[in-house]
Symmetry: C2
Subunit: 663 residues, 2 copies
């Protein structure tokens, strides 16, 4: 059952479909909740055993109790556990407890700041507050978590489906500058016989960080090079930034000015913000004509053979605005020649440290939305969604028959119809290894099925053992990309000592592609989840609710990866008997049936353990150098009290759009 309650006068965000496939009932209150329209809040007392899931890409565990989360899309590379906001706002939570018959979901459709105080102020109290007091609130009730997720998708739409090659291994690094750099990556993987489907182009491929340009000095024959890679079934995936460089003679800039496509300040002047190229304008993605214009700009790269993109810096990230920078330089003057003590020293350094992503800057500009002028901060969390919608809709027009890879850093619910997400600038931390697992079910719940974290970690230095464990942990994660920040230790797999062992993990990934692709498609088409917390399946098992480092992936597999350094195994909780598959390589593995209960399971470095559920089947294929080269004739099936016939395998050409996808 879906109920709807409205605070104030919310804008139409597009998160909810114009024609949902389930009925929505307007109501005057929600049973069990205290609603206070005057301060835009709703709250509820939680039983001790009640768990709160959801919120997509946030810090902390799968159970979100014990913190305040604030939806306010932010470019913050330090995903510490005390952060309240990351890049995304996915305002959907799900409440479940082992002793409750009913599961409940809440979606707050408000693109401004929304606070979720989940047992922070009071241990057993949940309070959700819309800062503006304008929000559409949807309440879902059903007898299972899976059903709540289906209801939610029925009103917000089916998830984006990428091409099949997007499930292969990808290599990325901010720092590849030239065609030769990229070719080296390709060749070193090829020479080591490590499968690879894609190489990512970070900001340096552009000419001075200008969208829809290619640096012709470092990529003198770009389309030839794209073609050269494509012949080996390797796809190049360029980044697209939200800000458009201010530069005379740069077409996108000049056209945008001419057609009045950029966001403006109250006084009618275009906002001058800055990111990589320095001064930029932001397209007003709230206008349909701007969406159409910007989206069709991707044509420039499609024409050169590109078939995948990642949208970045679209919170939008702001290094500074010209107005604020001027103020800061003026204020700095005051501190010259002073004795800077505790107050004045921090006041001075804060001037500079708060230049980036300053809240005041997000109040300096306006959007035009359905005829209304709206100050940016009130609709802030839609910006990345609308940029990606712009791309997604235009790509559908330009390539009506071909799936194009598209994912984004910033997001809002609704964007899941147009693209996936990656979880932004994580770090080479063991805690982020675990976090990357915990974020997946939360993202899936919110509709974002095509997702993944930067394997090995983006910031900080990766160690060989962390890389090995991360590749194993993410072995079933749809977006399977090794990515790192400029200035960090090189972390392509061939930079480490045990390349052979890494190859075996990547080969296992490719051996699992038939399962990954089948299960992803089922989740997408049936409005289900690909990653699930254990408690979504064993909903009466109170121990299952405690488990924060194991997930179920698809119908057959439970993952319980090693997430701590210097460990040769881990304890695992089995809600029921499962078959432990321990892989040293895709074709070198052992099978062992374990009873329900708590087990210490050995898992040495470079080994991958999977738990096959009873009554289920895992298909395995002989690996190939790319997903395109997989030979489905080589399929075999691992079973635990099941028959290969019990498994519904899905496959297709890997790129055609609009297949029937029925099961």
């Amino acid at each position: 059952m879906i109920q709807h309650y409205r605070f104030g006068h919310p804008i139409h965000t597009g998160a909810v479909l114009d024609k949902p496939t389930m009925d929505i009932t307007p109501v005057k209150d929600f049973p069990g909740w205290d609603i206070s329209p005057s301060n835009g809040s709703l709250s509820k007392t939680l039983s001790e055993s009640m768990r709160v899931f959801g919120l997509g890409e946030t810090v902390r565990g799968m159970n979100k109790r014990g913190w305040i989360y604030i939806s306010n899309n932010t470019d913050d590379p330090n995903h510490d556990e005390d952060k309240r906001s990351l890049y995304a706002s996915q305002n959907f939570i799900l409440l479940a407890a082992p002793e409750e018959e009913e599961v409940e979901g809440i979606f707050v459709d408000d693109p401004g700041t929304v606070r979720f105080d989940i047992g922070y102020t009071e241990l057993n109290r949940l309070t959700i507050c819309s800062e503006s007091g304008n929000a559409d609130i949807y309440r879902f009730t059903a007898d299972s978590a899976d059903e709540i997720v289906r209801q939610f998708r029925a009103i917000t739409g089916q998830s984006y489906i990428p091409p099949k090659w997007a499930f292969g291994f990808g290599q990325s690094r901010w720092g590849y500058k030239t065609e030769e750099d990229i070719r080296t990556v390709y060749e070193r993987y090829r020479d080591a016989s490590v499968p690879l489907d894609s190489i990512y182009l970070d900001i340096d491929y552009m000419e001075r960080y200008k969208d829809f340009t290619v640096n012709t000095e470092s990529f003198p024959h770009f389309s030839d090079f794209v073609e050269e890679m494509r012949k080996s079934h390797v796809h190049l995936v360029p980044i697209i930034d939200a800000g458009v460089k201010m530069e005379e003679g740069y077409e996108t800039y000049e056209e945008g000015c001419e057609k009045d496509y950029f966001v403006k300040k109250e006084n009618g002047e275009r906002l001058v913000a800055a990111v990589w190229p320095g001064r930029v304008h932001f397209p007003d993605f709230f206008k349909p004509e701007v969406q159409n214009w910007f989206g069709h700009k991707y044509q420039f790269l499609l024409e050169q053979g590109i078939d995948g993109f990642w949208n970045d810096m679209n919170e939008p990230a702001i290094f500074y605005t010209e107005d604020r920078l001027k103020e800061v330089f003026e204020e700095i003057e005051k501190y010259k020649n002073e004795n800077l003590d505790i107050q004045s020293y921090f006041a001075f350094t804060n001037l500079v440290s708060t230049l980036g992503n300053n809240p005041a800057d997000y109040r300096r500009f306006y959007h035009e939305h359905e005829g209304q002028s709206i100050r940016h901060d009130k609709v802030h969390n839609l910006f990345g969604f609308y940029m990606t919608k712009a791309a997604g809709e235009a790509l559908r027009k330009m390539e009506p028959n071909k799936r194009i890879l598209l994912f984004s850093r910033s997001s809002y619910i609704g964007m899941h119809r147009y693209g996936g997400v990656w979880t932004g600038d994580n770090k080479s931390w063991w805690s982020h290894l675990l976090l990357s697992l915990q974020q997946m079910p939360a993202l899936n719940m919110c509709g974002f099925l095509y997702s993944g974290s930067d394997i090995g970690g983006f910031g900080a230095d990766c160690t060989e053992d962390l890389m090995a464990r991360w590749l194993s942990l993410a072995i079933l994660t749809p977006l399977y990309r090794n990515h790192a920040c400029a200035g960090t230790r090189l972390q392509e797999l061939y930079q480490f000592q045990n390349l052979e062992s890494f190859r075996k993990i990547i080969e296992l990934r490719y051996a699992l592609i038939p399962y990954i692709y089948s299960e992803f498609m089922k989740a997408a088409v049936k409005n289900g989840m690909y990653f699930r917390p254990l408690s979504f399946i064993w909903s009466k098992d109170s121990r299952a609710y405690e488990v924060e480092d194991q997930v179920v992936v698809g119908e057959s597999i439970m993952l319980a990866p090693v997430v701590e350094q210097n460990h040769n195994g881990r304890t695992v909780y089995l809600p029921e008997s499962m078959k432990l598959l321990r892989f040293k390589a895709w074709n070198d593995y052992t099978e062992e049936i374990l009873p329900a209960g708590t087990h210490y399971v050995e898992c040495r470095l470079f080994e991958t353990i999977l738990f096959l559920r009873k009554g289920h089947v895992l298909p395995l294929i002989k690996p190939a150098k790319t997903t395109a080269e997989l030979d489905y004739a080589s399929l075999k099936f691992l079973c635990y009290d099941a028959d290969p016939k019990d498994y519904t395998l899905y496959n297709d050409d890997g790129f055609t759009r609009n297949l029937p996808f029925t099961f």
Copy 2:
């Protein structure tokens, strides 16, 4: 056996005693090691099962493999897992493996930068490198880890012993400004019947952050107030900073200038650095006369009834130097009116963000050490040690019969003879809850027995459940202090909902004081450890080496606290049968014998679980409002296959120095 090898021409640090109680043999090499005197390095191949313990106060687990640690004392409040340096340099490691008969220790006595590459560059290679190439290296070999620790203490000296009240509960916060603020803390704990032994005075008690002053506006009758608290057996513990404010008429400053006691630059001018009060000079703690002078300054506070101190900012922390600040203001000019792009924007912001603790500033000044002028960076890691030695030696002269509480933020081996340490500015993070447990054995190994982390976390906002779990985890930690940073959520226990439940945990702490005090004294007097990794006891049990979230405390207790949010229990590894004690309150507990193996053990919020070892005894006493008021007639004993007579209890008046302390 203790061997000694020398690189270059190291200075005499005082870490090793002039008269060690064990022989040290000079050698030409260390068996099994590759020594390269030309680049100041020694290295060794590690078997896969070899563990490396030690390094005192560092990030990451008890087993230090898989990272580079750099000894370079640094005031860094972000103890993320990729940090290489924190406040302390404790260059002692211990190597052990289940299949090895011999345990090995290495101590690098070099007060400059030392790198420990423990399987970072190569998974199975340990390389230690003295940057300056001047170091005394000591190698220890024995048949047990405990024996290595005893050998190490035999040459570096016995650990500092605090007064008994220092084991009671302490409350602290940067933000208590007045006598009234402090009285409120006292009264609110008293009114709630929560035991309390101490309240800490952070920087605001001073007059404009000047050492050895008291702000007479906010503390108009300081000594009366100290006396008022002392009557209730509550001790006030003021902070002492390393920097001396430059201010005409301020005695310490004027005297220091007059007597030439402050550090100077190459040109002979006194270095102008800045911390809380703005511009300061640093005492040259390397000169014996300065140590004596500064140490005797504590008299000002002793005279007012104070009997405990914490030395802070003694890495030394530097907000900026006057010289660097001037350069920065000049360089900032260049960026005015420019289009700040990726290069120039980061160059500009880095100018300001690198002002604090800038490596170049540590090369701007000199110390006089045994007649030599030495540039600070070459002996950097001794600064906090010598400040605390100054205090410790003077306090011994001024109070020859009374133990005075003294601990420090910065440290180096040798300082453990003069005071304890706290682990600096941690955060209200669950990962730091675990870290605080992992740091204890490492600190103990290095001689720092009196230690602890800020309970509830210093930076970031503490939640009620984190506070509860932290108080339980630290239930046996010598320094048991709740401390928080200005600007964070208030975290005195009475700020939360379940004060009654908190009281029960604190009462349990007091019930355990006889055990804590006895075991601490045994460790101190016998040159042993109070906190030990499991593998130090079960040295042939390979599972015991994997355990990173359990420790043995004293002879009787294994701790296995809950370290994850939203968990009602945890899995515990028992190397042998133990008795599980589950406390809801000091006098409300259950006992259950568990066999060796892996168990899921319930432990709900506000419960504390302890594991009593077989053949051992745990004394328990009726709690009192302060440690001074404990009635030892109320002692009782919990036993597992043991008799109360099997336990050696230690007690004394709690403050007399130089007791025989024999067992």
